[in-house]
Each structure stands twice: as C-alpha cells, then as structure tokens.
Amino acid sequence: MSPMRRTADVRTWSDTSLAVAVGRLDQDALHELFRRHGGAVFGVARRVLRDRSLAQDVVQDVFVRFWNEPERFDPDLGSVRAFLVTKAHARAVEIVRSEEARRARQDRAASRDPVAMTYELEREVWEGFVRTEVRDALAALDDDRRRVIELAYFGGMTYRAVAEHLGLPEGTVKSRIRLGLRELRQRLEAQGVLSGSAR
C-alpha cells in the first residue's frame, strides 16, 4: 500500500479507531491524531505556560506518552481530544508549579505580578482564539464564575490559590468552578456544540 493511500485511509477513521490503532503501534494513526488535535494540545499548553518552546515540549510529551501507554485512554471517560488536552493541561500545570519553572517565570516577569499578568494576558487572547460558540457560552457566564475558571485553567492555579488571590472563601471558589463548568456544559449542549450524552 502506498503511503498516500494509507494517509487517505486513516483520515477517514474515527478518533476512537485511531486510538485503537495506536495501541497496535500504528504510527500513521498517531500522526493523524496529532494532525487533528496537536493544535488544541499546543493551545492549552501555550496558554498555561506562556512559552512556545515549553508548550511544544508538552505536545511532544503528551503524544509520546500516548504512544507508549494507549491503554490509559478509556472511551468511557471522554473523547480522545478531551484525553489529550487533559493530559497536556495537567503536564503544563505541573511545569508551572515546579520550582524551576517558577524561578524562570519570575526572572522573565521581573517584579510584575505573574498572577495578574496571566489573567490580563488570557483576557486578551481569549476573545481571539476561542471558537464562537464557546466564547458565547463563556460570555453568558456570570463574571464571578468565569473568572475563577480562567484563573484555575489558564493560570494553572489551585482553587485555594484562586481563593487567596480573589479574597474569597475556598468553598465559594470550588463551588463556582463546578457550577460554572456545569453551566457551560448546559449552554454548549443547547447550542449543539456538545451532545447531551455522557460524552
């Protein structure tokens, strides 16, 4: 089979079929998943890390780990995209919270408040990059709920750190995160972006 024919084949496969093929050491399948979701994986890592090079390292790490351990993807726990993005976000947050990265960030940020800068930057890029439906759903969220989600997800902060940063009770922050995500889910379902099923 020619390489071109093979590429055409995998482009018709579902994400789940590609994930199964990765389990059989099918590199074309991994490449197709990278082609479909590499941008999103990079996007979330880039937002959290604010460093293109580090974000690309995260992308590499996520896909190499998926190649080495495809069994960790469980279709009952979400889509392939959600799995890859979740792994990228977790890895990016791990880097942000590491002492070494903290020092590097402090060096770059000099005396500026990194938390405030993160929030401002994310506000700037938010409008330009998030898909219209998601942006609309976010815009409809209560400001308080949206802000805690932004700080936790793109700032790489724990909910406790968010609470401290905003001067709110921890319980309030964790409730707002959960309720905000639920509300987003409902809005995105209503817009047809997400189905009403568990996945």
Binding site: G23, L25, Q27, F34, E71, F129
Partner: protein, 255 residues
C-alpha cells in the same frame, strides 16, 4: 443551589464538590488522591467528570494561535522519541534465562500454542481495566471476573514464573480474546517504575504490550487477538514502553 461548599460526615459530598476543580487540575496532590478514591467508587461522579472534561477540552484553542505551533518540527521530535526505544528480543531473553523451565515455551509449536486466532497477522492487544482505583466503571469487578475466568474450564491458562522460579501470577484468556491477569505476585517497585505485560506471538514477531500494570500490580483485564503463545512481564520506566527495554522478570507459555 447553594453556592457554598457542603460538608458531609463521610467526605463524599466534599469530594463531589471538588469535581470541577479536579477537572481543571486545580487541586493539591492530597485532594486529588481523595477525589480519585471517590471516583473509583462512584459511577455518577465519573460520568460527571467525563462531561466536564469535554467542556474543558473545548476551552483549548486551535485557531490563529496555531501559527506559533511548529507542527512539523514537533512531529519529527515525536517520531524520533517513539522510534528511539531500544527494543529487547524478549523471546531470546526468556530463552537465555536457563533450564529451570519444564518445557521452553518458545519451542512449543505455534499451532498448538495458539490461544486466540482472528483475522490478524500479528498480535493486537489493549488493556481494558485494572482492579485498582481510578479506572473504568467496571474496575471493581475485575478481580471477581478474573477469578470466574480462572474457574472456567474453557479458558486457556498461562502460569507466569518469576526469575526465581516462584509463581508470579496467572494469565487466563477466554475464547473471545478477553484476558485476565490473576493473582499477580510481583514485588512492589520504586516510584517511577512499572511492570508491563507483553503478549508473545511468533518467534520473529515483536512482543505486544498487553497492559501496564503499575508498581504494585493488581488483577487486570485486557483483550488480545492473534496467535499468542505466551506472556512475559518486564520492568519499565513509568509510564511504560512501546517495546521491552529490559529482559523479563516473569514469563509463561501456553500449556
């Protein structure tokens, strides 16, 4: 709904309240472990996490910011990494372990050793669940299902024997290709290492990863298809390897 955190004597309500923060990786390590323990016993909570993860995944942009993404260079690095794993000839390594075995599994005629034969040239496999926390909704039943398979006379059993000759567990495979690791007896590993179970096909065929078992293996379920004549366990760096990098610490042949 009350916008404040709730508390509950058994901590379940509190863990439930943390699900949103869990999805956003906004928990401390101890809280994350507590939530994962809660998830292991609450299917409804797992379903909610799956739903919320889809929302979080949509927050990841893949628009104009892609211009910054050097996709070709990153893909080249990925290819280099996945092809850079030095494969070990696991079958040869098992052969070299010495004469302790009753009958070397690698000399068993392939036709007699076939456990499952389907329309695939090689061996395909994948882990379905492990009997520990944080896996799929059926994880709690893995040990029971494995024990049931062990009692089923229609299954093929592959006893695993460790380097020291001691029993290391049993692999049981049903006719439909569902396999179980039963009663794994493997010493706990230090952090950063994991046991990995491999299916062995023909002598020239590379081993196929069946399951990454973790540092403290528990009963696991997997699916395998193709001509399989044995299984082996190696120790790898977490989170596992695409091909064995070290000789096996336990192995077994189809009887």
């Amino acid at each position: 709904m009350n916008d404040e955190a709730r508390t509950h004597p058994d901590g379940a309500a509190d863990a439930e309240e943390l699900l949103g923060a869990y999805v956003l990786d906004a928990l401390d390590d101890d809280e994350r472990e507590r939530v994962e323990a809660f998830l292991a016993r609450d299917p409804a909570a797992r379903a909610e996490v799956a739903r919320l993860r889809e929302v979080a995944a949509l927050l990841a942009p893949d628009g104009p910011q892609d211009e910054e993404f050097e996709a070709d260079a990153v893909w080249a690095a990925i290819v280099s990494a996945v092809e850079d794993v030095p494969p070990v000839d696991l079958a040869a390594a098992v052969r070299a372990r010495g004469p302790a075995r009753r009958r070397p599994w690698w000399r068993v005629p392939l036709a007699a050793a076939v456990l499952v034969a389907v329309a695939t040239a090689g061996v395909a496999a994948g882990m379905l669940a492990a009997g520990g926390p944080g896996r799929d909704p059926g994880a709690g039943d893995v040990a029971a299902a494995a024990a049931e398979a062990l009692d089923d006379p229609g299954t093929v059993r592959v006893p695993l024997v460790g380097d020291d000759g001691a029993p290391a567990g049993t692999v049981v495979v049903r006719a439909d290709g569902t396999g179980y690791l039963v009663d794994p007896a493997l010493a706990p590993l230090r952090s950063g290492r994991t046991y990995q179970l491999w299916a062995l096909g023909g002598e020239a065929a590379p081993p196929v990863s069946v399951a990454v078992l973790g540092a403290r293996p528990r009963p696991a379920v997997f699916r395998v298809a193709g001509a399989v004549r044995g299984f082996a366990v190696s120790v790898e760096d977490a989170p596992g390897a695409a091909a064995p990098t070290l000789p096996p610490v336990a192995s077994g042949e189809a009887a």
